[in-house]
């Protein structure tokens, strides 16, 4: 299933980018292009070969980790992607982790105290938080902490090996702006998952044997709510990865997103295909992992046992 999805996605990406009359050469040659030079460039880049051949070459190359070469610079796409991947991955995972850490307790609170002021306030805040564009939050945060208060760098990036402390300091604001919006979304899901738990009979049993609300929710609610939450987190990871793309622009981080935007502006399809394909692979991988996670969480899915 995974393989089929991968194949389908790759075809989609390739077709979207290259099936149409490529003016790649024209762009590259700029204003000095003549029909002859365009044709020559096309030939040089291998763009005058049949679509299927080009796809086959690209797909085969990918299986070896070779994503082709940039049309503009000739650099291997892999070499362009490699240094940017850690940046984006760190940003995304840290943001999601922080969002989960924030959203779990707040979501549980919102569920338990939903008929009280504090629970309702949390829900309202989450609603507002969801409406805020992450990149706007980033700009405002960099304004507040980077410019006005000057406690954190407003933008830029420092490699981990150069200085771990500076690396961390430069990632704080981007991670927070992404996490802020993600946690708002997650709070609502966590809340609804736990509200469902509150109506379950096994929660009532837990209360009847003497657990207070908090412990009952944690000991019994968490694992039961996890099923739906794991699904949501899987979906959110995709949206976090994409959100990272934008945040990297706000804070000038040399990540995958920056690469994508720069080459999209130049319409250098090889690079774009490579990056998008990679992102799609990541997303599909996460989906597959969530399926595995289900089996861990819900014993009912494990074996078709006798009674």
């Amino acid at each position: 299933m995974f393989a089929v999805s991968l194949l389908g996605a790759s075809v989609l990406i390739f077709v979207a980018c290259q099936a149409l009359p490529g003016d790649q050469a024209a762009i590259l040659l700029g204003t000095s292009a003549t029909p002859e030079s365009i044709a020559a460039k096309n030939h040089e880049l291998g763009l005058d070969r049949p679509l299927v051949v080009r796809y086959g070459e690209w797909a085969a190359g990918m299986l070896h980790g070779d994503f082709g070469r940039s049309f503009a610079s000739g650099d291997s796409v892999t070499s362009l992607i490699a240094p940017t991947l850690p940046v984006t991955l760190w940003l995304s995972f840290a943001a999601l982790a922080l969002a989960i850490v924030i959203a779990l307790p707040l979501g549980m609170l919102a569920a338990l105290r939903r008929r009280h002021l504090d629970g309702a306030a949390v829900s309202a805040l989450a609603q507002a938080g969801m409406a805020v564009p992450a990149f706007w939050a980033g700009i405002l945060l960099s304004l507040l902490f980077g410019v006005t208060l000057r406690v954190l760098p407003p933008n830029g990036y420092v490699d981990f090996r150069t200085s771990p402390v500076e690396w961390a300091r430069h990632l704080v604001l981007p991670v927070c702006s992404l996490a802020l919006v993600q946690s708002a979304v997650l709070i609502r899901y966590v809340r609804s998952a736990f509200v469902e738990v509150l109506g379950e009979d096994f929660y009532r049993t837990a209360r009847a044997v003497g657990w207070r609300q908090g412990p009952a929710m944690l000991r019994h609610g968490l694992r039961n709510a996890s099923l739906s939450l794991v699904t949501v987190i899987g979906l959110q990871l995709a949206s976090v990865l994409v959100g990272a793309v934008v945040i990297e622009q706000v804070f000038v981080l040399p990540g995958l997103g920056a690469l994508l935007v720069r080459y999209a502006l130049n319409k250098d399809v090889m690079v774009i295909e490579g990056v998008v394909m990679l992102l799609v692979v990541l997303v599909l991988l996460i989906n597959a992992l969530t399926e595995v996670a289900y089996v861990f969480i819900d014993p009912r899915l494990r074996t078709e046992d006798e009674r």
């Binding site: 507002a128 409406a131 706007w136 799609v280």
Partner: protein, 269 residues
């Protein structure tokens, strides 16, 4: 209490719609041409001041509402017009064809709107149209799923079985029974997708891959504002606030509709 969500959403959206409509006929100044000194603070006559090029911020904000609504309408339109029929089809089909469609939907769902938009922008160049199409296509799977789930529920209900027993054809059933019953579900999804579309378009414009200058767009206004952030921080507040208000409005509307329709939904099932 539930209704508060609905009405709050309607009010906020109304605000945006009215602004967009009014700006079509009139705005304080020309949104594209510079009108005064650059980076003026809020005051008179430029109520919200001017931007880095000397353009009136208030006028640009107002006209930006138009773009925001257009993108939402077109994107949701594409998503619904493609997704709902496909969803109905998949509910009606049995066997391998249905499976294939479902798998394809799963694959399609792996493409967040922004990613698809970046892809299209790279291939065709970024502009409002590619943004609208990309966002619309990316939202198709959600509409497909909603339509399919709703249709399956309706098709299993007694009155549909009775209709089929009377020999009424499947298309007629789809038209008279399925569509009216899934309309509320689709409506809720439309509201939610609209909100997502606004956010996505804003992000794309911010990146330079959406609405192209000089047409005002809240996203690109934020990018302009960022370059003068140290000098005039207020410029970064207004467009972001506008986006948040619009998105909040549609989210609240979606929530309100969902709460409103919940008891009714159960009646269908």
């Amino acid at each position: 209490m539930r209704r508060a969500s609905l009405w709050a959403g309607v009010v906020l959206i109304g605000f945006v719609v009215v602004t967009a409509v009014v700006s079509r006929l009139w705005s304080p100044f020309d949104p594209v041409m510079p009108v005064g000194t650059r980076l003026l603070p809020p005051g008179w006559p430029c109520v919200l001041g001017t931007d880095a090029f000397g353009r009136d911020v208030a006028s640009r904000l107002m006209v930006g509402a138009q773009g925001c609504l257009w993108v939402g309408i077109v994107a949701v339109g594409i998503a619904a017009l493609v997704g709902v029929p496909l969803g109905l089809l998949s509910a009606g089909l049995k066997g391998p064809a249905s499976e294939v469609l479902l798998r394809a939907t799963d694959v399609a769902q792996a493409f967040p709107a922004l990613l698809l938009a970046l892809l299209l922008a790279g291939a065709f160049g970024g502009n409002t149209v590619t943004a609208m199409i990309a966002i619309g296509l990316a939202a198709v799977p959600q509409f497909l799923r909603i339509a399919r789930a709703g249709a399956l529920t309706v098709l299993a209900s007694d009155f549909v079985l009775a209709a089929r027993a009377c020999g009424i054809g499947r298309v007629a059933i789809a038209r008279t029974h399925v569509l009216p019953n899934i309309a509320p579900l689709v409506g809720v999804q439309a509201s939610v997708t609209f909100a997502m579309a606004i956010l996505a378009e804003a992000a794309l414009s911010y990146l330079g891959l959406g609405t192209q200058p000089p047409t005002p767009s809240w996203g690109s206004m934020l990018r302009d504002a960022q370059s003068v952030l140290f000098v005039d921080p207020l410029l970064a507040v207004w467009p972001g606030l506008a986006i948040a208000v619009a998105v909040l409005g549609f989210n609240l509307l979606g929530d309100g509709l969902r709460d409103l329709l919940d008891p009714r939904l159960r009646e269908v099932a």
